[in-house]
């Protein structure tokens, strides 16, 4: 129970952290890209730092899914080593870069007021976490296991799942950063509200699903996930319809109150963000419902059923 709670807390915190990182990463690299990547090598340590929470989130979940203790330990050690090495490299590069590119100014500004100091501290934190994990498990022995080859379908499902995860994280980050860009005039509060809520629904479903998986028996999981899917679907449809009705009444409300949330939309002059946030919210809900109704078509259910 202690391990489960630790996993859930770590996973949830990492998830939020990864969401913020994903959004900030996209924003900074998008800004760098439209400026001919002029700052790419200056910002490389920052980019690495922003990818690390996403990497750590995926690693924690992969470790949690492994049944064999030996393999679990092995994965923990490998991922901790990778985390330590990458963050040490990023920290070293960041320090050198601060002197070479920013004239030793640790508060040069740009991505944040305290850049690059803030990101160097974050990097140092990753180094410490990685080294700490390696230290804790230094005496635990594990042996190499023969890797079971994944089928093409499994690999594709894995890729799609991670792609979806990135979208969900990005929208969660958009929500988090909306606290900076929220239109205080509240002129379009009834239009922006459903959209802001749609940003968090995919992540809420994912996190709740993880909690169900960790806390309930397989039989209870099935019905709990079905109910989660139904709630997610119902909420998404209500918020989606609400948003589209408001958009119909005030077509320009996104322009007037939410331009900061859809920078990419305005760069390509296409109103895709609101529709995309609706679709991304539908996906996990439908996945859970379909998984309950026709479990043979959903790999995770099939696997568990065979086990169960």
């Amino acid at each position: 129970m202690k391990t489960k709670s630790l996993f859930l807390i770590t996973n949830t915190l990492l998830y939020f952290f990864a969401g913020i990182s994903a959004f900030f990463f996209i924003m900074v690299i998008f800004t760098d890209a439209i400026n001919d990547f002029r700052m790419f090598f200056n910002y490389l340590p920052l980019y690495i730092t922003l990818i690390l929470p996403i990497y750590a989130l995926i690693a924690v979940n992969r470790i949690a899914k492994v049944d064999s203790d030996n393999l679990k330990l092995r994965k923990i050690k490998i991922h901790a080593l990778i985390l330590s090495v990458i963050s040490v490299v990023a920290l070293g590069y960041g320090l050198i870069n601060t002197f070479v590119s920013f004239g030793g100014n640790f508060l040069a500004g740009g991505p944040s007021k305290y850049f690059p100091l803030s990101f160097l501290i974050l990097n140092l934190l990753f180094v410490l976490i990685g080294v700490y994990i390696l230290f804790v498990f230094r005496n635990e022995k594990c042996v190499a296991e023969t890797k079971v080859k994944s089928g093409v379908l499994k690999v594709m499902a894995d890729v799609l799942k991670h792609l979806f995860l990135l979208f969900a994280l990005y929208f969660l980050g958009t929500f988090a950063f909306s606290f900076y860009s929220f239109d205080l005039s509240l002129n379009h509060i009834w239009g922006t509200l459903p959209l802001y809520l749609l940003f968090v629904i995919p992540s809420l479903i994912i996190i709740t699903n993880e909690i169900i998986k960790a806390c309930a028996t397989f039989e209870k999981q099935k019905s709990a996930r079905f109910i989660l899917g139904l709630c997610g679907l119902g909420l998404t449809l209500v918020l989606g319809v609400w948003m589209f009705i408001y958009m119909n009444a005030y077509p320009n409300f996104v322009v007037e109150a939410m331009t900061a949330s859809f920078a990419v939309d305005f760069a390509i002059s296409a109103n895709l963000g609101p529709v995309l946030s609706f679709v991304i919210s539908l996906i996990p809900a439908i996945y859970l419902i379909v998984g309950y109704l026709i479990p043979n078509y959903i790999p995770i259910y099939k696997k568990r059923q065979n086990k169960g």
Binding site: D32, N35, Y43, G109, N252
Partner: protein, 343 residues
């Protein structure tokens, strides 16, 4: 329960206050100017446009660039005509404004389509509070009900007489088309045109102590120039007229290298109103980074500023600023200043 009711009432009060925050209609034209400037011979207004500072800006290099530009331009006033920022933060905005203000030259801004896309509230970038801390800033936003933010003007005075007026208009950002999927650019709206007309007429009526603007002869009308970000539809007509003239040097100068003139989504009649009033000698915009032509079209100069700095797409040979000189005879001059980055 009582506590819940109290909380709910407080929330309602916040919503009610917020919905009233749009302002009232009790503003006069005098509320749209912060302070006068003194006229000097061939008054020099430096237009800087489309700077595009954002999260990926190297400030140390930019300040060297801006130092070179401003010292070469030697302006009496500086105007930033939109898209100063794109994906910027409060820190980035403060850095640019701190820098501009440190030059001890009067300056003001109008917004482009990208300025509101950043890690700050719309109220931060367009609200008065942000600009009030700068001694040399002339920006004013009375928080009225007129479209856009920071529609304002600056009178340039010879003694007690207004010699020139500099009009700043917010040409907005985007407009969602009827298909619900694509965006066009916004325009100067009819209520802004009415505001512009009121400022011109009231200033002239006050200066000449007459009852009606129409009593003035065209030569009497106080000359003005207007700055905004998004070009008018007439910029296309002007270009076509110049092409038809065989690029007559007396009519225009500059180049059209962009993939188009990205004007607003309809013609709201600003140009026609300016022609009718006879005050505005030139209109100066940004937006299309590699267009820098200025054409005298039906008596008004329609002009693109020179893109300032290397933020997002640009032609490295076409960046710098544009100086508009205001003569005491009501004529405008133009000087393009191209500044390259130091290697």
């Amino acid at each position: 329960m009582h506590r819940i009711n109290k909380t709910f009432s407080s929330l309602l009060a916040v919503f009610a206050l917020a919905s009233c925050a749009g302002g009232t209609d009790t503003f006069t034209y005098l509320d749209y100017q912060k302070q006068d400037l003194d006229y000097v011979e061939d008054f020099r207004v430096l237009q800087m446009t489309d700077i595009h500072f954002g999260l990926a800006t190297n400030f140390a290099e930019e300040w060297v660039y801006f130092d070179n530009l401003i010292s070469e331009a030697n302006p009496d006033m500086m105007v930033l005509t939109g898209d100063m920022f794109m994906n910027a933060s409060v820190d980035v905005v403060n850095k640019l404004y701190d820098y501009i203000d440190s030059k001890d030259i009067p300056w003001t801004v109008t917004f482009g389509n990208h300025d509101r896309q950043g890690f700050y509230t719309p109220q931060f970038i367009q609200g008065q509070k942000t600009y009030d801390k700068y001694d040399n800033c002339l920006y004013i936003d009375p928080n009225d009900n007129i479209s856009g933010h920071g529609n304002h003007y600056v009178n340039i005075m010879s003694g007690t007489n207004v010699e020139w007026q500099v009009i700043m208009l917010d040409s907005g950002s985007y407009h969602l088309n009827d298909d619900g999927m694509t965006y066009d650019y916004d325009v100067i709206h009819e209520d802004q045109i009415a505001w512009y007309e009121n400022v011109i007429k009231e200033t002239n009526i006050a200066q000449y102590a007459v009852d009606d603007f129409d009593l003035l002869t065209p030569t009497q009308v106080i000359p003005s120039i207007a700055f905004f970000h998004i070009p008018l539809l007439e910029y296309v007509d002007a270009w076509e007229a110049w092409v038809a003239s065989g690029f007559d040097e007396a009519m225009g100068s500059g180049v059209y290298e962009d993939s188009g003139v990205y004007h607003g989504y309809y013609n709201s009649g600003f140009f026609a109103k300016a022609k009718e009033l006879g005050s505005t000698r030139g209109m100066y915009v940004g937006h299309d980074h590699t267009n820098d032509y200025t054409i005298n079209y039906e008596g008004i100069y329609l002009s693109y500023g020179v893109k300032t700095g290397r933020g997002i797409y640009h032609n490295p040979d076409m960046i710098g600023g544009q100086v508009i000189t205001l003569g005491d005879d009501g004529t405008v001059g133009l000087e393009r200043i191209f500044v390259a980055y130091e290697e």
